[in-house]
């Protein structure tokens, strides 16, 4: 006689709860998609009527009908280019040191801890640092350089952390093969490790820069101007940026300015989505190459 196991009496109830729980998790997860869609649709619907060539080509104005984002767009371009120039070489170099050279000394541990902490410092605190050091102490004023230096410090930990991950993903066999052929450590890094890690480094860097494009608070702290009716001609000029312009329009009570802000948001999000897309393509290409 074989023992026939009776299903437990509460099985049906437990299964109902399990199904409800699954449904709850599923709907809450897809809620993110809904929220993203609502946000995008709302901003586009408000902003689209204002979005034309004139909006891109005009300077900001007191009159909504004549207001545009030319100075903001050019300012953002200046800011991001300079930020890239400052932050990428230093960030990647720091990552190479920590990943390829650093031994476990006390100083190197201190570097690791400070990077981890800097990554969690609120962006507005970087703005205060920029205000005190770059704007006042180094007397750079409210210039593009001061803004770019502040942004560079802000995204430096992000670049270092993502570059380190990319370097760590390079298999050790490549390094050993290069050493075995008599290459020095720097030759190994320069000719073998860095090229192999490049897609990963690039992806992380683009994402870090796209974060810098959207940051507003540090720029307000260092006093990026909200009304700029000229295009910066050099790195020492005053400037405004896209998120600053959006903030300026949002904080006015009139409905027209809110719609202008929406139009600016559509432009900003388009730029960010483009950068995210490029990062995704690079990542997928490199994964395709590896397999």
């Amino acid at each position: 006689m074989s023992p026939i196991l009776e299903p437990p009496a509460n099985l049906r109830r437990r299964k109902v709860w399990a199904r409800l729980f699954r449904l709850l998790c599923l709907s809450l997860t897809w809620l993110s998609l809904v929220l993203l869609a609502v946000l995008l649709v709302h901003a586009t619907r408000e902003g689209l009527p204002w979005l034309d060539l004139q909006f891109i080509k005009d300077f900001p104005s007191r009159f909504p009908a004549r207001a545009g984002i030319k100075s903001a767009l050019v300012g953002t371009l200046w800011l991001i280019s300079l930020t890239a120039v400052f932050s990428i070489p230093i960030g990647v170099a720091g990552a190479i040191y920590l990943e390829e050279y650093a031994s476990r000394t006390r100083l190197n541990t201190a570097i690791e801890i400070s990077i981890a902490n800097l990554a969690g410092v609120p962006s507005i605190v970087y703005g205060m640092l920029g205000l005190a050091i770059f704007v006042r102490w180094m007397a750079l004023g409210r210039s593009v350089v001061a803004g770019a230096l502040t942004m560079s410090l802000l995204i430096l930990p992000v670049i270092i952390i993502s570059s380190r991950e990319a370097l760590r993903a390079v298999p050790d066999s490549i390094r050993r093969a290069s050493f075995a052929l008599g290459a020095t450590q720097w030759q190994t890094i320069r000719h073998h490790v860095l090229p192999a890690a490049l897609p990963g480094i690039l992806t992380g860097t683009i994402l870090a820069l796209s974060r810098a494009i959207g940051e507003t608070a540090p720029l307000i702290m260092i006093g990026a101007l909200t009304y700029v009716a000229f295009v910066p001609a050099g790195p020492m000029d005053a400037f405004t940026a896209l998120p600053i312009q959006i903030f300026n329009w949002v904080s006015r009570p009139q409905q027209e300015f809110h719609e202008l802000a929406a139009a600016g948001i559509v432009v900003l999000l388009a730029v960010l989505l483009l950068m995210n897309g490029i990062a995704v393509v690079i990542r997928q290409r490199s994964q395709g190459m590896r397999s």
């Binding site: 699954r22 993110s32 902490n117 430096l156 974060r211 507003t216 959006i246 903030f247 949002v250 948001i265």
Partner: protein, 311 residues
Amino acid sequence: MTSAQWLEDRPRLALGGKRARRWHEEAIKGLLFLCAVLSIVVTVAIAGVLIGETVQFFRAVPVWDFLTGTKWFPLLAPRSFGVLPLLAGTMMIVVGSALVGIPVGLASGVYLSEYASARARSILKPILEILAGIPTVVYGYFALTFVTPLIRVILPQTNIFNAASASIVVGIMVLPMVASLCDDALRAVPDSLRQAAYALGATPLEVAARVTVPAALSGIVASFVLALSRAVGETMAVTIAAGATPKLTLNPLESIQTMTAYIVQVSLGDTPAGTVEYQTIFAVGTLLFVITLVANLAANRILRRFREVYE
């Protein structure tokens, strides 16, 4: 490449130039080290700037009055420098955003790691990444022009600037981080634990609630703490949507002011360096910095101390 070419370009053992090459190597290493050490310089600079101005501030205003005062009127006479209203405003946003971001984030993490098919993951992960990459000023706009009108339809007495609407969008803002950190923590739990629980007849709910989530608890709790820290430091959404009236209230439908919003308010005006107004932003900034630092250190500690290690 032909072998002749290779012979031409091949790396050579430059024995004669060994000393020069050695010097070259050391110089590069030194340069890379300087770049890495910059992070310590930045940390020290942040601490130095904040402490320097804050010490100046405390010469004019006693520390005790700052930390325990219940009135914050720093710009107009009669002045009063009690930071509690700003702190209360920040805490209201933190609690509100946690109520939104933590349950949804955890549920998303559980769904992603325990239920989602590879295809669903490949759609959901990028969506969460995009949601995480949306600038905070955009969330502020969303709060002011979408969430607030929605709240006012249900509760017409709501102020145009209110803590509830800002909390909701900050919750949406921290949600992707919580979701992806919870997902990572849950996926690190070895599958054998799940399979053992299923073999004993547990339902998926029981497996998640009694096996995987407890096993990943350190990572999950750390993600919550990091979310709180993000909410403390969040600036633009609360500046735009939560208002500029520092007050001690428990009503989320009223206008409040957070620490970060106050710092923005002052720096939008033209405040000369060296004045007490200018120093207040550094005093408030120091408090902000200390709170986020403690939270981040706590999250790291939770991760390290309570991590379950599986072989």
